[in-house]
């Protein structure tokens, strides 16, 4: 118990350090570093949401870009001022019922999540009867359908022209607040009896059913919750960029989140967090790969695209040689330090959340 309390203390201290770091960052960092930092938080939300279905429930879903798109458009259309909308919809006027719809940021953010969740629920009810690759391709198809619909409904979404001038609400505190809330929600969820049901479904659906778990319900709830988070993540992304269009939400976007989840460890909350931060920062650091490379002796010509090759190889290497990713399905815990000998041995530390 003492160990437990000590770990709680460590966690609180770590939280405080993080908050202090964010304060420092928000005040002194230049806008570029801050932008990357905030993108990290958004990818944390997105990675956690994908991990909830793919990692914890064992449903291979590839429809995340679709839910993000729905969230981003919902929040954008709710928060843009009527004047902004008029500027944007210069080709075809906006549908009258939308023109004056206006909400403050937080309700709009929640609405973005809710609309995405509703869609997730409506879609989940039929397609979650499918398994494995069928589910993967059906959800992927669903995301494509969303994108096609967004492109073609010009008087609602402005079609291919996209929207610009979204209010830049997604400040450091908002995005990291959302990331912290998502992480807390996930930690709470996996420890609850519901979380155990999720993992039971993942590990053996038939056995879980035999144990009296309503497998289908568990799947739908997990899928809906994940859609909510994806919607919120999409909305945050829109408010960071302040412009969105349907082309943003292609399968590539889902793929980059999948990359984070796989690298971090499928079924690990801390893995997803570390993966999201690591990949986002690496993506920026490896930018030099796309330019000309000076090796001192030889000058290599610029090979645009090399960076993505490196990332694909990284993903393949992880899948082939370290399938469990950075964290496997375990979690970071303070007792790791005591086991590593950095701290006095505590005896019976509780290992991980899972």
């Amino acid at each position: 118990m003492i160990v437990h309390r000590r770990h709680l203390l460590y966690s609180l201290a770590a939280g405080a350090v993080l908050a202090a770091f964010l304060f420092v960052a928000d005040t002194w960092f230049d806008a570029f570093t801050l932008r990357v930092l905030n993108l990290c938080a958004i990818y944390v939300v997105l990675a956690l949401s994908l991990n909830l279905v793919n990692g914890f429930t064992g449903l291979f879903s590839l429809g995340h870009a679709g839910f993000m798109a729905v969230g981003a458009y919902t929040s954008a259309l709710l928060t843009m001022t009527p004047e902004q909308k008029e500027v944007n919809f210069f080709l075809e006027p906006i549908a009258p019922w939308l023109a004056h719809l206006h909400l403050p940021f937080l309700p709009a953010l929640v609405a973005a999540g809710l609309v995405a969740a509703l869609l997730g629920f409506l879609l989940g009810a039929p397609v979650l009867r499918l398994k494995d690759d069928y589910l993967a391709i059906a959800t992927l198809g669903f995301a494509e359908i969303i994108r096609v619909v967004l492109t073609n409904t010009q008087n609602i979404t402005n079609g291919a022209l996209g929207l610009k001038g979204l209010p830049a609400f997604a400040s450091t505190w908002v995005v990291w607040g959302c990331a912290a809330l998502s992480a807390a929600f996930m930690a709470f969820l996996v420890r609850s009896s519901y979380g155990r049901a999720l993992k039971a479904v993942r590990d053996d659906e038939i056995a879980a059913g035999a144990m009296g778990i309503d497998v289908f319900r568990v799947k739908v709830v997990s899928f809906t919750a994940s859609s909510f988070m994806a919607g919120v993540g999409g909305a945050l992304l829109g408010h960071v960029l302040t412009t969105i269009d349907p082309k943003m939400f292609t399968f590539m976007l889902t793929f980059s989140i999948l990359l984070i989840v796989v690298l971090g460890g499928i079924g690990s909350i801390t893995g997803s967090i570390a993966g999201a931060i690591g990949v986002t920062i690496l993506m920026e650091l490896l930018r030099f790969l796309d330019g000309p490379i000076d090796l001192g002796v030889v000058q290599l010509e610029a090979r645009p695209g090399l960076r993505m090759v490196v990332f694909s190889i990284l993903l393949m290497a992880v899948v082939l040689f370290r399938q469990r990713g950075l964290m496997g399905n375990r979690e970071f815990s303070w007792s790791l330090f005591s086991r590593a000998g950095l701290w006095p041995r505590s005896g019976r530390g509780k290992h991980g959340l899972a």
């Binding site: 932008r35 990357v36 650091l285």
Partner: protein, 383 residues
Amino acid sequence: MKRSAAVLPVLVALALVGCRGGTKQPTTVKLGVFEPMTGANAAGGAMEVEGVKLANELYPSVKVGDKEYKIDLVVVDNKSDKVEAANAAQRLVDQDKVNVVLGSWGSSLSMAAGPIVKDKKIPAVAMSATNPLVTKGNDFYFRVCFIDPFQGTVMANYAAKDLKAKKAVIIREVSNDYSVGLARFFADSFKKLTADPAAILAELNYNTNDQDFTAQLTTVKSMKPDVIFAPGNYTESALIIKQARELGITAPFLGGDTWEAPEFIDVGRQAVEGAVLSTFFATEVPITPTSKEFLDAYRKKYQKEPAAVTALGFDGYLVARAAIERAGSLDGTKIRDALLATQSFPGAAGLITFDQDRNATKSAVIKVVKDGKFTYLTTVQPQ
């Protein structure tokens, strides 16, 4: 696990170290070149960068006050992706501390950079982004090309007056802002010119990367239009025209400036002969002394004919350089004001004057594909 605990702080630290820029007194002027080098828009990006680099070779320095500054180009790839584009733009203004941003090919990528340059008060000059939204409401974004409404009118005029067309069909790339915008402006002015509200027989759509258009085209054939307006990506457009000819459609095809890429002819071959397009610049008719200078330098360096957007890249650089010189300062707002005052600046692709929306008012050129080459047809002046 231990690794993860160790890796995180290291990554963060690396990022911070890697990202910190020095704050020394500038000895050079930096122009950020913000272009897609990979992804869907890579071809366009490469052509603009060619023009910017050529201009930089010819005019490598600028006089600010009484001091001569070397001009450094900082080229970043925005990957034809909005999130990446925003990161890249932020990096240019923040890390690289550029004085002016040039680019980007692709209006939606320019729009991702819009709020960032505005926020930092760094002027940006787009070269060939024709979507009106790029500069609308952003007093730091300029462009050295005309915008879609003008281009749509030019082609409608050509169809109604030169071709004496009465009925037209539009085939548009619905997922492409450029195509959707241009199609609308063409339709509006074609209807006005023919005084026939039903002059547009149909507006058919396709999506980027589609390759089979036989269903749309068979429908078009049954409508017997006098002319077909099909602005869009060069690859898809070339395939459309090829399939149309295979189905026996003989009506002329009209398009916009995006067609002017070697791939359009490479893919379309014999089928695209006779296709007519509006664009910014023709090598056959140098408009200003700068045009000739640009052409000579380009031909000498690359041994081929430049694309129109390459000329615009050249112009973007020169306009920015001239504004810095006139501003006599590296302050963003002052450069912006100097840009606004640009009057009849002789660019390679024509005289540049910015209107109150920071768009260049300038002439358009109509070209036709003849013997596998884009050949000059006529010049259209703005009203």
